[in-house]
């Protein structure tokens, strides 16, 4: 039974996730990016918890807890710590200006909506709309990865992409293995953060700017 309030609440959570995705997109400072990402993860946690309650699927609380603890709290702290420890530039280096990126982001949301809504006509309205929002979040995560040069912003882009996936997975009624998948993804994320620090990309490459990493191809001598 879906009352309107249940419907509205899941929309609210989904829309907050999407909005936070845009906030990640327009930040000029790394700390701002981390905060926006934390907000997005908290919204995902709220969405998952709400789905757990309204679908009566207690295992989704685990997903919510993972999103809350790992991505809402631990990851931003770790990122902050890495930035300080490796002494990385605090400003976001963009490959494309902020304005055009925002426009592209809006375009991607339109694209996702146009893509998802027609093919899911027979699904429940809530599922369709959550899926459209989730795909938008995924695409915006991509956009962050493409248009931001620092490796660390790319990592945040990847994590927000993953937030979109969690949103999709919890929005589909009765999807099994969601918890297992979010654990697998947490492993991936922990690995990424560990990787940045352990590889000391900053020390090795002087900069986390991927452009200067990619200038090296192993074939020039």
């Amino acid at each position: 039974m879906f009352s309107t309030i249940a419907y509205d609440l899941s929309h609210l959570a989904g829309a907050t996730v999407l909005l936070a995705g845009f906030v990640v997109l327009y930040q000029r400072r790394l700390l701002g990016v981390f905060r926006a990402f934390a907000l997005q993860s908290l919204a995902v946690a709220a969405a998952a918890a709400w789905q757990a309650y309204s679908q009566d699927a207690p295992h989704l609380y685990v997903t919510a807890a993972i999103a809350f603890l790992l991505k809402g709290i631990a990851a931003p702290i770790a990122l902050n710590w890495i930035v300080r420890r490796l002494d990385i530039h605090r400003t976001v280096e963009t490959a494309v200006g902020i304005g055009p990126t925002m426009l592209a982001g809006v375009g991607l949301v339109v694209l996702a909506t146009l893509l998802v809504l027609p093919v899911t006509v027979s699904s429940a309205a809530l599922t369709r709309e959550t899926l459209a929002i989730a795909l938008s979040v995924v695409l915006i995560g991509f956009l962050v990865m493409i248009t931001r040069r620092n490796a660390i912003t790319q990592v945040v882009g990847f994590m927000s992409l993953e937030n979109g996936l969690v949103l999709a997975a919890v929005g589909v009624k009765g999807m099994p293995l969601v918890v297992e998948m979010s654990v697998a993804f947490s492993l991936l994320i922990a690995f990424i953060l560990f990787g940045i620090f352990f590889f000391r990309i900053r020390e090795r490459f002087d900069t986390l700017d991927l452009q200067s990493i990619e200038s090296f191809r192993g074939e020039r001598r």
Binding site: V119, L165, I213, E219
Partner: protein
């Protein structure tokens, strides 16, 4: 069933043991021994009648040959690795501590690949491929050099994005199935999905397939998602390059083909063929042209892997019994040939102290046994008779021409360009005056010869039962 537990259990137990073995030489041989045990366990499957699928495992004609192939190449690669790695420690490129890690990871990688092949669940398959990606990232970065870290990072980011998209596709498949099958684990289980496929919502299935193709296609190294592949092959330890090219690419392609079968079974969904054909041809041409200007020998053969993955994808895209037959055969033979080449390349770069082609020049003069083995391997991989890949490519071309002449011409052209590139480079590697370092060979050539003999036999004579069996799988893939 017991054999399956052994196939998955042995590598896992092996990983645990290897993590505790301090001596790297001993570790290397234990690693080979564990892989041999896995191979024996997978051979237990062979007197084969398809067992009933369980919620956990699905073994049918299609994946059993990949299971055996995977455990076989994993074994020869471990065998080769034992000698190779000892030399790397001797020359100071690796420290023994890393090797403990390396050997444990090697077994985790075997486990992950075998799990992805065996799993009867699209979620478990996804997680297994993710695990395989993570372990290979770690292995690629093993040398800790700047280039190795760059390669690992690139592989990591692109691989993760691929994995993420594949998961979105997986969720969409579930959603497409939900209407017909209701919520629950059944809608993620291969054997159930195939039974119910005609009732799925075709539009959702289409969208899902696009995500899955891009996601797993990244792991297969299909153009334009291939950027990680040459770097990862070139900068990691050579046994891992062999496993990546020979096995992991196949596993990702296996996933794509499985989902393609789902679309075919549905009937109303879009025909996946043209998508696969387009990506296959793009990979073939891009990689073939890239072969010409390679200076690094491992990069050269990495591009050749992209080319062959393109050919196989093309074959499955064409579909039909003959093209599928060619694709399946090509998958197996490419695996065997390419891993043999990488073993030879690994020995060559150790013997000559460089991966640069102009440093390796004149290999047949300085190390005849190795040099000619590499020549034979390269001749085989460029699709010349009498080796097996000639047969599969010939079969693919002849089956394509009557159905789509233009595609046939394109395929032939791409193969010829690749052939030219490989021959040009082979000439530089194998012949000419050998200058620079000439160290004695450090590892055994036996794994190389074993693979070469197998592909030679496959090129001359395929046993009747094997042909019949390939045909039945080709029918099944549709």
């Amino acid at each position: 069933m017991n054999a399956l537990f052994l196939i998955l259990g042995i590598p896992l137990a092996g990983a645990a043991v290897l993590a505790l073995v301090p001596d790297h030489r001993l570790g290397g041989w234990i690693n080979a021994g564990v892989s041999l045990a896995t191979l024996v366990a997978s051979l237990l499957l062979l007197p084969f009648e398809a067992p009933d699928p369980t919620p956990f495992a699905l073994v049918d004609d299609f994946n059993i040959y990949l299971i055996v192939l995977t455990s076989f190449v994993a074994f020869t690669a471990a065998w080769f690795s034992a000698g190779y790695i000892a030399h790397e420690v001797g020359s100071g490129r690796l420290t023994p501590t890393y090797l403990r890690f390396y050997h444990a990871m090697y077994q985790v990688l075997s486990f992950a690949m075998l799990l992805a092949l065996i799993a009867n669940n699209i979620g478990v398959m996804w997680a297994a491929i993710e695990l395989a990606t993570l372990t290979t990232v770690v292995m690629v970065s093993l040398y800790r050099s700047r280039a190795a870290l760059e390669a690992a990072w690139k592989y990591f980011i692109l691989g993760s994005v691929g994995i993420a998209l594949a998961l979105f596709g997986t969720i969409l498949v579930y959603l497409a199935a939900q209407k017909a099958m209701g919520p629950g684990m059944d809608a993620l289980t291969w054997s159930q999905l195939y039974a119910e496929a005609p009732n799925f919502e075709p539009e959702l299935l289409n969208l899902a397939f696009v995500f899955l193709l891009i996601g797993y296609g990244t792991k297969t190294g299909l153009v334009p998602l291939h950027a990680w592949l040459p770097d990862a092959h070139a900068e990691g330890p050579t046994p891992i390059s062999a496993v990546l090219s020979g096995l992991l690419l196949n596993v990702a392609l296996y996933a794509i083909v499985r989902f393609k079968m789902l679309l075919t079974a549905n009937g109303d969904a879009l025909a996946p063929g043209p998508l696969l054909i387009a990506m296959g041809l793009a990979s073939l041409f891009t990689a073939a042209l890239m072969l010409y200007r390679r200076r690094d020998i491992k990069r050269l053969f990495a591009y050749s892997s992209i080319e062959h993955m393109g050919v196989i994808t093309f074959a499955f895209g064409m579909g039909g019994p003959l093209a599928n037959f060619a694709g399946l055969l090509h998958m197996a033979l490419h695996s065997l040939t390419k891993s043999a080449i990488f073993y030879a390349v690994g020995l060559a770069s150790q013997a000559r102290g460089s991966q640069q082609i102009d440093q390796i020049k004149g290999l047949t003069a300085s190390h005849p046994a190795l040099g000619w083995a590499l020549v034979a391997g390269t001749v085989a991989i460029s699709g010349l008779p009498p080796f097996g890949l000639f047969m599969s490519e010939f079969l693919l071309i002849t089956s394509t021409f009557p159905r789509a002449p233009i595609l046939g011409v394109l395929l032939l052209l791409g193969l010829l360009i690749a052939f030219g590139g490989l021959m040009l480079r082979l000439h530089g590697i194998a012949f000419g005056e050998a200058d620079g370092d000439r160290r004695p060979l450090t590892g055994s050539l036996l794994p190389v010869y074993a693979h070469l003999i197998l592909i030679l036999i496959a090129g001359i004579f395929l046993p009747g039962p094997l042909v019949a069996w390939f045909q039945s799988v080709a029918e099944m893939v549709g």
